[in-house]
Symmetry: C2
Subunit: 271 residues, 2 copies
Amino acid sequence: MELLSLNTATTKHWTLAEAVAGCVEAGISGIGLWRDRVAEAGLDRAARLVREAGLTVTSLCRGGFFTGPGSDADNRRAVDEAAALGADTLVLVCGGLPEGSRDLPAARRRVAAGIAALAPYAEAHGVKPAIEPLHPMFCADRAVVSTLGQALDLAEAAGHGTGVVVDTYHVWWDPELETQLARAGAAGLIHAFQVCDWLLPLPADALLGRGHVGDGSIDVPRIAGLVAEAGYGGWTEVEIFNQEIWDTPGAETLRTLTDRHRRHLARGARR
Amino acid sequence: MELLSLNTATTKHWTLAEAVAGCVEAGISGIGLWRDRVAEAGLDRAARLVREAGLTVTSLCRGGFFTGPGSDADNRRAVDEAAALGADTLVLVCGGLPEGSRDLPAARRRVAAGIAALAPYAEAHGVKPAIEPLHPMFCADRAVVSTLGQALDLAEAAGHGTGVVVDTYHVWWDPELETQLARAGAAGLIHAFQVCDWLLPLPADALLGRGHVGDGSIDVPRIAGLVAEAGYGGWTEVEIFNQEIWDTPGAETLRTLTDRHRRHLARGARR
């Protein structure tokens, strides 16, 4: 499938080797990797597996969590891993409020400082840091970076190839989406594009309310169109956190997302 | 208590008469009313109850839901009720995506048209429409108005006394909060200020994750300070949706919120 990438969070129960084999079988030529599965396989073996399968590593997930302890060293390791895997994009989920703190401006300053410190190291290793704004419902516990505009401000301040990840689940509601996507595209700062849908009602674990493209409230084709108009011609990574999908056999999930890509997102399918 | 108002959603199980009596007993002199409890008591009797108790009606909740059928007539009735109750502010929760639709720009246009149509009617009846931006996690099902900046754009376009409601739960995460509060204050558009806190983890019903000021992730005193700096000198309404608080005897809830107001929000308590 045309520039379709499987983010392996979508097939949570697959090992890295299973995900690689699944992609080859399904004709999906891009893969977004998670560090825990890479570590489990071993970094060298993981790199060899994806290389020998002819897959493009469209992102490594994830670095960031700048508001927690030990993030600087861990983020440099994440850069090293991305370089070893041939992933040119490292996704950064920036971290929420530090334990016991309510000081949001201070947390945001800490994130800015952490990104600025990481960016030159990443550039020196041929890796582009990609700041992912997370939906504002994750501001307290996962990411104090809540809008695309804010992520772009941070990326521009950090420089050294730093850009952003656009994930439909996190940005679809933003009244400034059109403006900020155009800004991001014009500056060449869209490093990755991830898709999934918004399901109602929100599940008990708010992390898991994501669905296949077409099953929820988001006009994903419209956002994909805006991203394309902004000049992004890269991969579309499908990243879905959803217990039911995780409980579905991986091969079936890949058939579904390939089908949805063909119907909603491939060239010619867009309205 | 100094400019403290009980929004009766906080004491969900109280009738209007019980809420009025509870406020008098607790020394709370403002009350924010919900239309269902007003209807249950009867409009004339409700108006008499609050007037005879010497309470100020700080808001009527709520009109809006412009994206659903029949909203125009219902919103005019809400204005009439606000006028009868002596409430000068009618809170507008603007509605989510129409059933089966993913067209967010169209829904937002419909909201703008609905507010513009309502505003002159409200002005003629001495009622100020107050647009409430809701947290983006409610964009699909409750309010396509997701940020303070967006609400202010709508209020300015509608005119005729239209303004906004600032609720800490809905706006605390916004990177533009300082800028937009200053803008709102300078234009005299803050018609109501509501407070509660953000509790983690989000509960199974995402509507109910609100807590007493001081129990969660929001620096409510800081936001109250920004609102005051912006020139707002009105009431602080406590509006909490939380099953545990609803299950607590109302008098105890009023003691808690009075105590929190004194410690965190009353003049001199602010950092």
